[in-house]
Symmetry: C2
Subunit: 421 residues, 2 copies
């Protein structure tokens, strides 16, 4: 949706993967839009549905039921959050409303409340439309899921693009200008003028239906499911942003609402509901976001999570180029790698690189390596594809593994690999 708002994607209809008509013609699936499920009667195996157009209510029986109610945007409980010009970005209609507001009202100054991935994507989108952008973030850094050193690289980049960052501040209220528009947002550090405010402080699982039906909730209030997407109530399954999962490294229940996970859970749920026995193994919190010409991503545990899980994290951070000096188009990336200082097991990685550096490739290599429990020593020898247009002869994840291995062995930083092209 940020790409639709920012003009990269012209038509929001392209954001719909499959329409109700396509579901019908391709798979003979009936999709009822503008219908709300009011309640689940688990004992009777029925749901009560209201047709929002006609107001008619009716019961639909089920053999097995899948909850895919998703997550809703969190709106901070501040005065003025309901004013015109204040938005969240969660559903397709939100993006259409934001786009219409911008073309109708020509706002000049925008405030994005929340410096996470959605906030970063929207920085780029709003700046592309010519708006002034200020990010207000309660944490002391943008991208709170990154370590401070990596986050500061992101901050420096967005500031270079003209974005202002107000960190360590909460929005205390949003004020109208008395003429139908906004005046700005209030923080303890002062007021910030704004014609448009985007609330991007996060999402929470949408679980009212589930909890009303007696379905057990888990971490962060998401619907508790097992590896086969079964809830605590027989014949009710859940998948996607409304459901829990487990962290593949710690084994702990977690809630990481992401599209990539939803799609996998959906497949597992479908198989499971029809008697198959696949097991969704969980997630390791891999995610990536583009902001201006930066690719920003992480996977696995951060230092605190690793320590909490009983590991003794060793950390290395390297700067490396994507290609040899002689090949055009190379660019740099910063990679932070985390491993257990005793076993050498890889635990997590953060990457911030120029888009042109294809940092996401290195992130995905590390995601697979971390996911399977590789050690830093193992990673040194992965047989990656080398040709000058694609990487250096020793690619960035392997350089990081060389440095980590040397660090764990206590034999210096191994940095001689760096200067070599």
């Amino acid at each position: 949706m940020p790409y639709f708002i920012g003009g990269v994607t012209a038509d929001h209809h392209n954001l719909v993967a499959r329409t109700p008509a396509e579901f019908k013609s391709m798979n003979d699936i009936d999709v009822l839009t503008r219908h709300e499920v009011l309640s689940i009667q688990a004992e009777d195996h029925t749901v009560t549905v209201r047709d929002l157009s006609s107001g008619r209510e009716f019961e639909v029986p089920y053999t097995r039921l899948l909850l895919t109610t998703g997550a809703d945007a969190v709106v901070p409980p501040v005065e003025g959050a309901g004013l015109e010009g204040v938005f969240t970005l969660r559903r397709l209609e939100d993006s259409v409303r934001i786009k219409e507001f911008i073309s109708g009202h020509r706002p000049r100054r925008s405030v994005i409340v929340g410096g996470g991935p959605i906030g970063m994507e929207m920085c780029e989108a709003l700046a592309a439309l010519g708006l002034e952008v200020t990010v207000v973030e309660a944490a002391g850094q943008v991208m709170p899921y990154l370590s401070p050193e990596m986050a500061s690289k992101v901050q420096a980049r967005i500031e270079a693009e003209g974005v202002s960052c107000v960190l360590g501040q909460k929005v205390e209220g949003i004020e109208a200008d008395g003429r139908g528009g906004l005046r700005g947002v209030a923080t303890a550090a002062g007021d910030i003028a704004a014609d448009l405010v985007l609330m991007a402080v996060g999402v929470r699982p949408s679980t009212r239906l589930a909890s009303d039906a007696g379905v057990e909730l888990g971490v962060k209030g998401a619907v508790k499911v097992d590896g086969r997407m079964r809830t605590s109530v027989e014949d009710i399954f859940a998948a996607g942003d409304c459901a829990t999962t487990s962290n593949t490294i710690t084994g702990l229940e977690t809630w990481v609402p992401l599209g990539s996970t939803s799609r996998k859970q959906g497949r597992v749920a479908a198989d499971s509901m029809f008697g198959g026995s696949p097991d969704f193994p969980g997630v390791q919190g891999t995610s990536a976001v583009k902001c201006f010409d930066l690719t920003i991503g992480r996977t696995g545990l951060d230092q605190k999570q690793a320590t909490d899980a009983g590991f003794l994290p060793a950390v290395v951070e390297i700067e490396a180029d994507s290609l040899h000096e002689y090949y055009p188009g190379r660019d740099s990336m910063s990679l932070k790698l985390l491993a257990d200082g005793e076993s050498g097991r890889l635990l997590g990685a953060e990457i911030v690189g120029r888009v042109r550096s294809i940092a996401e490739k290195r992130l995905d290599i590390l995601a697979v390596a971390i996911g399977v429990g590789m050690t830093a020593d193992d990673l040194q020898y992965v047989d990656l594809a080398y040709a000058p247009p694609y990487s250096t002869a020793v690619d960035v994840p392997i350089i990081a593994a060389n440095v980590m291995t040397a660090k764990i062995r206590g034999s210096g930083c191994g940095c001689d690999t760096h200067g070599l092209s």
Copy 2:
């Protein structure tokens, strides 16, 4: 070197990772160029060296000796192979000679003998310089290390760029024009006019020194080494293109001369020579090459290798886009995935995609997955980084794993995942 010849890289000095002077100043390592080692006296722990400038010969003692003699280009024993205008491309001076020949003689028509990776890179380089290019390949397809279906995609692309392919033909001779230039190459299928001929039929390990010293040779005549790069002779080690390695999937001794492997073996050898005990686990034959706007790569076993190793290979081939339809810059790739039909263990992959599709990312994800012995089922759940600029919500390797899993389970092709964006 193809990038230097083709003009992508302006200065061939940039192709030298580190000069002798840099070795000296950075690491206090003496590098003697224009010196040839004539023989190794293993019992005495000395080598006999000739200074090629002065002709002086002298002995150099060693405690431990590392052979990194590399590989030499194979020149087919055909008449005319020594004519001016006939080249191999292996050493830096070869590329300088080719470049000088082209600027000095302005050849119009070129024949590349050999349709492997070097041949493909040189197609692009010579075409970029405006030469007509004909590839003559003894096998019935270009890129003999790919399956015929995948190779045909490469052939179609290079033919669209104006390259002619003469397949299933060997060069029987190279003829001079009697005026100091070339007339062309002779094949059983007829003569092909050429002003420049590049022999790119492969390389063989350079092992005369080693074998003269009584060092045991292994597969393909390469210096036989163990995981610690030790040869059969005490205190003599070998690494890089002159040395054997093992295939990590089959465990068999193999010889796959590639820069990425050399660099890893070099590190292991250095550690091993100084008493460390790292073990180079081997390679799985991952490689990639760019040719025009195609990225071509493979990793792991092909069907024949898999069958020979006792697996029962199941194969799926998918066409997939790199990005969702709504995000600009997406492009397509063909991915062939091989797994054991019984255990589901991933065995190999081939990929041919547009450069813009970042097919090498998918290849590297698969390389790691195959290297650690993942099954197709496991690969379905790898937690890769998703954002619209980088991939579809379910990235290509996972789609292939979905299709493979469905195929192995016998429940259809699973192709419904394809149409979804």
